[in-house]
Amino acid sequence: MSEASAPILDATPFEPRARTSGQRWRRRYGLAVIGAAIIVIWIVVALAAPLLAHYPPHAVDVTVRLLPPSAAHWLGTDPLGRDVYSRLLFGARVSLFAGITVVVLGAIFGTLLGGIAAYAGGRIEEGLMRFTDLMLCFPPIILAMAIAAAMGIGTINTMIAMLIVWWPKFARLARSLVLVQRSQEYVEAAHLIGYGPSRVLLKHILPNSIGPLIVLVTLDVGHAIIVFSGLSFLGLGVVPPTPEWGAMVSENRELVEQWWGATFPGLAILTVVMGFNFLGDGIRDWLDPRARRR
């Protein structure tokens, strides 16, 4: 900045940090785009699994058990001779479906409950939030174990168990967000138009509260996949022959020599969770106007 003698005030000696909008966009949302790409690729893979897989996921062939990665078996085979690559592709269907469904359903239920509690106030709020607290008290994995034990092991039952422990955090977040918006003057103005409570809540308050909730959803999908995989790993998730990443790690974890059995499903979990985290961070920045301006 060596412009000592510049009397013209419109000269631009101090501009080096100004960036083009493209550079700015890339710097801020680059990672989010990578995250979104990872997720899209995994979803496409899950949908196209029958086309991409080389073998049926359940095809047992003990003659080819525990083969290292090769041209015939890209990611090797497991102790029953099943193709790890094919099982990984089909496993994506279960893991992504379970993770996304649990979080989205939990978010919708929790948001509505928390939103209604905050908006109604008084006894209704007290009742709904104490119920939420009660649900928060259960350690998620223990509860899931209890439900799995009571209702039997299976993908849907595990998801129900997860859902029960999943919604309270959305209810608490939604409640605090709605409480902030409820006292805003634009909400009072909506009342003055003559709107009833449900219309004010759905049309004015929730659209302005949704940002942090969407961020929590995206960050949480990764978490849900890990928990679901964890439950499968413990033997609570899917019924054995079904391919699922956590279950695959669990089945092959003792095979130290045959590292491919547990490593590749583990990497799959890692990439999906990272993808959702990148996307969540990006959405958080994008929804925060202060961060956007900078």
């Binding site: 005030l9 101090f14 501009e15 100004a18 103005a189 003055l192 301006r293």
Partner: protein, 681 residues
């Protein structure tokens, strides 16, 4: 001023050609662009300008408290001969809080909420090695006492949340003066406070300046505050100093059109002209800070611009002690007084008040808000927000509602528009009893009562386009036949509040505060209401924008025959706009009278002290004025005093005031007051 002037005196602070820039994605913002001024030891300097003029950034540059994206790009700041700009972090830390101190605008956030007052005060003194812990504690108690805090021994052991805003500002001042600094920067220290508390703090600031001999830089947008405290003023506009001079001369004979505009945009309590229904405003908005104009930065808005203004003027002397950055006044000529058309009072005003139709009638209205119990066995407590208010608003008039924060004026507004449910009493709107009207019963009446809100940043849904914000009430009430009609009506509404129809497709964040307030007004007008309740609609705006909005409200009233209930804490504005005024204190009406009678011959001691606490932007008048100082703070609305609510602060209180509550009585025609001793006022 302290008589410590020994010749020759060096300035304690000298700012030379200061340039502070912000790096943003859209380029560099030259927030402070070549500012120079000086402060003599013990001097009180006022720094004036609207938001975005660079006055706060100048103060932060002096304290070197700038945020990450901002940097000092040029110039020097000499404090006692040493350049602050080139100091390293260690040196500046030694200076801050020791020889230089700062008091911030918001007393609610400037103290650490988890530390006791004592610890925060003692830390300031100990960290600079001025005192050891024990003597520092003693000094802290002494300082708090000096700042007018009762029972300072107890106060030091309190936490900040136990204090009101005014009290916290006293603690901040105590902290500022704890090391007897040579310079105190006060950034809008009274803006967040009520007038009576503001008067106390300003008095204190003046006394401290005299007692401690510290120079004070007072940053304010309020010329009245500046006139009250400062001996010299620097006016800033668009990152530059545009005028500088002694307060009295500058305020009585401004030499820069911007100062002129600032002065004339404020309605004045002492200069009320009957029949004058408009304020002087300047057009447009401050220039874009990313690219200041090449010529005079004020030229685009200046009513006096000449050809020379395309060239950037320098800050040049005009007279022995004054400087101005203006080509027009370079010859030393004064700027003319604004010529405003005097409008004959509108026809509706001629009808005797009592003959006009009553639009809104309120009787004995009560609203208590229960607070959570301290513990299970504690008695149930409630904030007595509105505690028996009687009020009548007639068709076509403007009723002003004034009072300090916490007096219940906003609650009253929300009771009238039925956002809150009253506990007891009666609200009658054009004959309909709406006290406990259900949502369905209210729906047709919603069209006739609307509200304008205080905060233009919170009153518009950020996720809706202006078009939808305005169309929403029209659609809901089915006011137009088809969608095309709705869009036409939206454009008509925008035109009515002075916005172009191209703004319909924008979102609220794309507008300035004043424009948003216009949108808010347009939304209220969308349903063609009869009564508009305006809850402090101008208090968060710059003075020039305030004047524009006041003019707009008066225009609209004349064109659309509106009735206003106008809530404000600014008495000069209330006097200017209102036909009748209601004074509220702790949920009760103290006085109701026509505006003229209330301000010229107030009956209630509270009204008198409120009026006398308003600072007037004229240094000569400020010196001459007799003030009635209110002691202390308003009592808690949880447990209001017995008898007269005002007796705890009243200079005339007697035994009778505690025993017997005065009733609102008509002492003169249409002039009501609730006081036992009105004849003594």
């Amino acid at each position: 001023m302290p008589a410590a002037a020994k010749e020759p005196v060096q300035p304690i602070l000298e700012v030379r050609d200061l340039r502070t820039h912000f790096d943003t994605d859209a380029g560099v913002v030259r927030a402070v662009d070549g500012v120079s001024f000086h402060v003599m030891p013990g001097e009180t300097l006022g720094l004036v300008g609207e938001s975005g003029s660079g006055k706060s950034v100048t103060a932060l540059s002096i304290m070197r408290l700038l945020q990450d994206q901002s940097r000092i790009a040029g110039g020097s700041i000499l404090f006692c001969g040493r350049d602050i700009v080139t100091m390293d972090a260690e040196q500046i830390r030694a200076l801050r809080g020791d020889q230089m101190a700062m008091v911030f605008q918001d007393p609610m956030t400037s103290l650490n909420p988890v530390l006791r007052i004592a610890r925060q005060l003692v830390e300031t003194m100990v960290i600079h090695g001025r005192r050891d812990r024990n003597s520092a504690l003693g000094h802290a108690v002494q300082l708090l006492g000096r700042m007018g805090i009762t029972a300072p021994e107890r106060a030091v052991d309190s936490y900040p949340h136990q204090f009101s805003g005014g009290m916290r500002q006293r603690v901040m001042l105590a902290m500022g003066f704890s090391n007897e600094p040579a310079l105190l920067l006060a950034d809008e220290p009274t803006t967040a406070l009520d007038v009576t508390i503001q008067a106390q703090i300003l008095d204190l600031l003046r006394e401290l300046n005299t007692d401690f001999g510290a120079a004070v830089i007072l940053i304010s947008h309020d010329l009245g505050v500046i006139a009250n405290v400062c001996s010299r003023v620097v006016v800033m506009y668009a990152g530059e100093v545009v005028e500088e001079g002694p307060t009295e001369a500058l305020l009585s004979d401004p030499k820069h059109p911007y100062t002129w505009a600032l002065l004339n945009a404020v309605p004045r309590l002492d200069r009320y002209i009957p029949g004058q229904r408009r304020l002087t405003t300047i057009e447009g908005m401050p220039p874009d800070s990313h690219q200041w104009p090449r010529g005079c930065r004020f030229a685009a808005r200046c009513p006096f611009r000449v050809e020379a203004c395309t060239e950037h003027p320098e800050l040049l002397p005009v007279g022995p002690t004054r400087h101005s950055r203006c080509w027009v006044t370079q010859t030393g000529q004064s700027l003319p007084k604004p010529a405003l058309p005097l409008v004959a009072p509108a026809a509706v005003k001629k009808v005797p008040a009592a003959d006009r139709e009553v639009m809104l009638e309120i009787k004995g209205l009560i609203k208590h808000f229960p607070v959570p119990k301290q513990n299970f066995f504690a008695p149930r407590e409630a904030v007595h927000a509105v505690d028996g208010v009687d009020l009548i608003v007639r068709k076509g008039e403007t009723v002003g509602l004034v009072g300090e924060s916490g007096c219940g004026k906003s609650t009253l507004a929300r009771l009238i528009v039925r956002i809150h449910e009253p506990d007891a009493g009666l609200i009658k709107f054009t004959g309909h009893d709406i006290t406990h009207a259900s949502a369905a019963e209210m729906r047709p009446l919603r069209r006739r009562i609307q509200m304008i809100f205080q905060d233009p940043y919170a009153s518009l849904n950020p996720r809706m386009m202006v078009r939808d914000i305005l169309a929403e009430p029209i659609r809901f009430h089915g006011l137009t036949d088809d969608e095309a009609g709705t869009q036409r009506r939206v454009e008509e509404l925008l035109g009515l509040v002075g916005l172009s129809s191209t703004t319909a497709a924008k979102y609220p964040h794309e507008f300035s505060g004043g424009q948003r307030q216009r949108i808010s007004i347009a939304r209220a007008l969308a349903v063609t209401p009869d009564l508009i309740v305006a809850d402090e609609p101008i208090s968060s705006l710059d003075v020039n924008i305030q004047a524009q909005i006041i003019n707009l409200l008066i225009d609209l009233q004349e064109r659309l025959h509106l009735t206003y209930l106008f809530i404000a804490h600014d008495l000069a504005v209330v006097r200017y706009i209102s036909d009748r005024v209601v004074v509220l204190y702790l949920g009760k009406v103290m006085e109701i009278a026509p505006a003229e009678a209330l301000f010229d011959r107030p009956l209630h001691p509270y009204t008198r002290s409120l009026i006398s606490a308003v600072p007037i932007p004229d240094a000569a008048i400020e010196r001459m004025r007799q003030r009635i100082h209110l002691q202390g703070e308003p009592p808690s609305a949880l447990n209001p005093p017995s008898g007269c609510r005002f007796r705890t602060r009243c200079p005339m209180a007697a035994a009778r005031c505690a025993a017997e509550e005065p009733v609102l009585h008509e002492y003169r025609p249409d002039h009501w007051a609730a006081c036992h001793f009105t004849e003594r006022v």
